[in-house]
Amino acid sequence: MGPNVIELDNLGYNYGGGELLSDVSIQLGSGSFHFLTGPSGAGKTTLLKLCYGALTPTSGRVRAFNMDVRGLDRDQMAHLRRRIGVVHQDCRFLDHLTLKENIALPLTVSGRDIADEEANLRELLSWVGLTDRMDARPPELSGGERQRAALARAVILSPDVIIADEPTGNVDWEMSQRLLRLLVELNHMGKTILVATHDLSLIRAAKNQVQARVLRISSRQLQLAGADL
């Protein structure tokens, strides 16, 4: 395991009401694979947002690539987002763009010329099996297609860290296994992976493919889950 890419220190968070997370500490070492689990409403999505800087902790500290996330200005935050690929729970596509344009969006907004990246883009589309769907609009896609497209968009800038929020939320078992294999492949390529899921069978299936640690949120705290899974 390399140096930590993301660290949370004694982190606390609330949305203005009662404490949702308190005294949470994690270190994600470079190249590690973590699952984050817990019942619905436990705060998984919230914790991920804190990791990639979409939310600011009410107490404690978040460090990404050895930078305190709180101290970043808006431009630095944009650059941080390019180093952390995120698969959002609801995918967050732009419906007026084609699937291919959505996947290429991180390239477009970072000012790169899509024409120069055409080969990479095609390779990525075929890796997630969406080559023949690249001109479809997001609303026309099935759940599995959406999740694979979201993963493709998350990795297009070749980020060091990939954070996925319920990537197998709306897909059948077979598709969830396919997505898991993609995430494992990325981890084997050296990417740091953090996956939030309430689906324990996914975690069990991952066990014989990758060395993954499982973190569980329960009663506002984060625990390392043991063999009881």
Binding site: A78, R81, V86, H96, L105, P106, T108, V109, I114
Partner: protein, 297 residues
């Protein structure tokens, strides 16, 4: 320069990331077209009133004449006396008795050139040139009446002074109108840009999530509004120019109204209107975008 090029040529990919919003696009086009149209007339009015003011002011300056109607024997003495009084009068820049040749030249259109001026009882004419401040005509008349019985002051062009003032005021008003038109356009485009930014709050959020910098997002909006303002301004300017072209040509009888147009290189001036409109839209949208993006952060 590269920035201007980027703004005009743009980037097809970047243009697509923000969905077009129908009503703000039409509003911007319409407003900049209407404003450019009005601006052409305000500009034409300002230039025409400026020209009229200059011409009339010019005539005013060299307008007055003093006539000495006196028996031949007294003419020279009275002319002398009148010139002396004029020299002492505040507001008179200079006064000069016309020579016999000049007087003959003035009369020749009516009596032909062979006129024996010397043998006719023609009054002596004195040309009076005013300075900026002008002289007190009533006071001058009273004094002349007392000391030069044959003197008649003819200052017929003086009645134009209020007209010159009116023309100058009209020019000031049209300049103020142009500024107001620019301000109203800036306000409307700011509103339209704010509406477009608000309507696209979700899109902006997604763009930020995938690593877009605020400057990139702002430029996507700014470019769109600037181009629309340029296009609308160009169309409005063209229509306004057609309107001005259709005005009757300048004539002395029509005076000021028929002269409402451009002259010479003045015809190039309206071409600046769409460019200024584009600049106004650029500044207004940049400000609106920076403010809105700050709020959405």
């Amino acid at each position: 320069m590269t920035f201007l090029k980027a703004l005009l040529l743009g980037d097809a990919q970047a243009d697509r990331v923000v969905p077009p919003t129908g009503f703000t696009a039409q509003l911007t086009l319409f407003v900049s077209g209407a404003m450019a149209f009005l601006c052409v007339f305000a500009l034409a009015l300002s230039m025409a009133s400026g020209r009229v003011a200059d011409r009339w002011a010019d005539e005013l300056a060299r307008a007055a004449t003093l006539r000495i109607n006196a028996p031949a024997a007294q003419k020279a003495a009275q002319t002398e006396a009148a010139l002396k009084i004029l020299q002492q009068t505040p507001g008179v820049a200079s006064a000069r008795a016309l020579t016999a040749e000049e007087q003959a030249a003035l009369l020749s259109p009516w009596f032909g050139s062979g006129l024996p001026v010397d043998s006719l009882p023609i009054p002596q004419l004195i040309e009076v040139i005013e300075d900026e401040a002008g002289y007190d005509a009533t006071g001058l008349r009273l004094r002349l009446q007392a000391e030069v019985p044959g003197a008649v002051l003819d200052d017929h062009a003086r009645w134009r002074r209020p007209l010159v003032d009116a023309a100058l005021a009209l020019r000031r008003l049209s300049v103020v109108s142009i500024l107001l038109i620019g301000g109203a356009m800036a306000a409307m485009i700011t509103l339209a840009a704010n509406a477009a930014l608000s309507a696209n709050a979700q899109v902006i959020e997604v763009l930020r999530l995938v690593g877009a910098q605020d400057s990139y997002i702002a430029q996507a909006f700014v470019r769109r509004f600037t181009l629309r303002a340029l296009a609308g301004g160009g169309a409005g300017m063209a229509l306004g120019m057609i309107g001005v072209l259709l005005m009757p040509a300048a004539s002395d009888e029509g005076g000021f109204l028929t002269g409402l147009g451009f002259q010479g290189v003045g015809w190039l001036l309206p071409l600046l209107i769409p460019l200024l409109g584009g600049a106004v839209a650029f500044v207004a949208t940049t400000r609106a975008a920076n403010k809105k993006l700050g709020e959405l952060a």
